[in-house]
Symmetry: C2
Subunit: 152 residues, 2 copies
DNA sequence: AACAAATACGTGTATATACATGTATTCAAA
DNA sequence: TTTGAATACATGTATATACACGTATTTGTT
């Protein structure tokens, strides 16, 4: 769907302004698609993200701050997301021996199973809805990295 | 900043998968930049969005559902966002005469003033941080609309 | 060794997101 | 005309976002 239809507006200051809105809208759209699939696994978007990060290092242990700095949305309240995952017995908390300030997190067997099933589903839905080829994706990656060049 | 540094990961399934994450990360980055500026005006990202939509129709009245369908994030709880704006006396609520189910919203003088000042700031920060030219922005717009082609 | 600063995490608050439900009003079919 | 469905909005709940602050631990400086 064209952005104009999606947000019922045709008045954009210029193409750059429109690109900003397009990025925000596309991200919302993508999150919505993913969340709908993850719901079947009882996971939210952010809970899934934390599980993925844990998997990346598994069976190595990883502490809360290392999870936080890998999150897509940097202001995520990781301790609270881990609270939910712990209740569902998908992860385990332990105090680090090396540095008692750190809480190290590990995946449970159940966590591994849920992650594997949901990842399969997420990969499938990505292939299904993102109808672009590798070159187009590559262009997007280059352009978005240029957008963020100025850092903040 | 490269996505790899931003989320400390180098393992992407393919360019399409990476593009998905890049879109999500760039949207977060853009929202963060905007929110930081809006904070000086006591506004959140979504409150600003509602004010902009009201301005687009001003001095015409607009009802809650028409605001909702123009929002970038479609699941926004518009009545609640309007609650906050009403407390700050930036908007006014009234029941529609034509259809008493509808609540029509209008900007106050104070709302108009805050919106104008904040819009100036937002436009300036857009120009400042989004260092791409019109052609590059146009490419992004085309590519993102292709990404969303499949609808859902 | 003692103490100040930094770090890591948990917790609290306000707002937003996502979704379900309740209530009043309008519309449409019998 | 009456009644059931649809619509518009408000409200409630769980989770997330954004940010501030408190506590425990570690580090660095004197």
């Amino acid at each position: 769907m064209k952005l104009e239809q999606a947000i019922q507006s045709t008045r954009f200051k210029n193409e750059v302004h429109k690109a900003g809105l397009n990025i925000l809208y596309t991200a919302w759209w993508l999150k919505t698609v993913m969340s709908r699939e993850l719901k079947e696994f009882g996971l939210t978007h952010e809970q899934y993200n934390v599980l993925r990060i844990l998997k990346g290092k598994h069976p190595e242990l990883i502490c809360v701050k290392d999870i936080a700095c890998r999150m897509i949305e940097k202001n995520s309240n990781v301790p609270r997301i881990i609270d939910r995952l712990e209740i569902k017995k998908l992860v385990k908390r332990a105090t680090s021996e090396a540095d008692k300030r750190e809480t190290v997190i590990s995946l449970t067997q159940s966590g591994i199973a849920v992650l594997e099933a949901s990842t399969q589903r997420i990969n499938a839905i990505f292939d299904e809805v993102m109808v672009i080829n590798e070159e187009e994706a590559s262009s997007i990656n280059q352009l978005l990295e240029k957008v963020r060049e100025k850092e903040s």
